[in-house]
């Protein structure tokens, strides 16, 4: 049996994952309302909780949050049986993997949220362009790729800036870092 302190920490981690998951769903709802030229082209604001989670959780809960984001998004927007879900799943997990590897590999002193956000958005959009080539556009995907990737860079920088400001100002975030321990070197 786990010691009481470990059990408390596990419960706190679980609750934090659930809360950040809810925040993802909320941002997904806002994102869903924003008009877009193609159903799967999103600005990626729902990735914000994932970026905040980078310094809070180890790999397991972090990717669990990514799964909640993707499946919850599919349930909220009703896209679970569509290509949109496939795009969202591939995009979220590729960006989550890249962001986690970079933040843990390089450390928070070497790479900030702007860098992590930009590379994450680029990774996500690149995977989505590849999927779009297979399922939607065929060869024409090469014409969609430049504006789509450029949009990724812009939203990645924007989200990174927001994250930097949020982590400095947020009382909730500071209490979570104190309780769960900053996971980055």
């Amino acid at each position: 049996m786990l010691p009481a302190v470990d059990q408390d920490k596990r419960a706190e981690t679980r609750d934090s994952v659930a809360l950040l998951g809810a925040f993802c769903l909320f941002l997904s709802t806002i994102e869903y309302l924003i008009p877009k030229p193609l159903p799967f082209m999103r600005i990626g604001i729902a990735n914000l909780p994932l970026m905040l989670a980078l310094d809070l959780f180890p790999a397991g809960p972090f990717f669990l949050l990514a799964a909640i984001k993707t499946i919850g998004q599919g349930l909220v927007t009703g896209s679970l049986f569509s290509y949109v879900f496939l795009f969202s799943l591939a995009g979220t997990f590729s960006s989550a993997l890249l962001m986690f590897a970079l933040r843990r590999g390089l450390g928070s002193n070497r790479i900030g949220f702007i860098g992590v956000g930009t590379i994450g958005a680029l990774g996500s959009n690149l995977v989505q362009v590849l999927l779009a080539r297979i399922f939607v556009f065929g060869e024409s995907a090469k014409y969609v790729a430049p504006p789509f990737l450029a949009a990724g860079v812009i939203t990645g920088i924007g989200l990174g800036l927001f994250c930097e400001a949020f982590t400095v100002r947020s009382v909730w975030y500071r209490t979570r870092v104190a309780a769960l321990g900053k996971g980055t070197p």
Binding site: G21, C24, P37, P39, F81, Y83, F137, S140, A141, S170
Partner: protein
Amino acid sequence: MKPVTETQIESTHFFIPPRERRGNAFIHYFPSKALFISGLLAMPAFLFNPSIASRCAQFMLFILLNWLAGRKLNLIPLCIASAGIIIFNLIVPYGRVLFTFGGWRITEGALWAGIERAVTVEGLIMLSRVSIRSDLRLPGSFGTLIGESFRYFERIMERKGGIERKDPIGGIDRLMLELWAVRSGKVEASKETRRPQRRHPLIGYAFLIPILVGIWGVCLIPLISAGA
């Protein structure tokens, strides 16, 4: 004279819009699990349908089902997205040239490929929207965790007015602190919000069977006729 009950007063004073009425009836007749399974069964019949014409027929059926389910049908974004997919497919020409448009060759192969992809993408979205409802409960510990997220999500949706545009960081922070503070009482809250199992009339299940047969029939007819 019988006294007028509160329910009767409510029913005469509050007008329920037709779309909401259809939505409520859909929730009453169709359990979310049955819809999920039906959607799962219908998906291959749509995705692997070899005929564009019958795929279009399935697409129209999905639109009709969305209408019956009281889902909001935004046809303009649907048309814009479909046109976008078709136009991007036309960029790379292949097949017989149908006509030229300011030096741009519109080819038959690219046009059909664009239409097929547009119908598939939009059709899957329509099928998904009608068969996935947010009250669908997933099994296991992951299902429990996602359920907790949905409970927090409901609270966020109740308080979203609290996030000011002028200070989104402060607003989000206050919201997170507030939700974190009530988490100690979440067991009670979850008991409060746990709704009793809804009983769905059998006619709902019975109605899903002919729909599925229709969707599969539309897919199988061109396959059988091609074989014959």
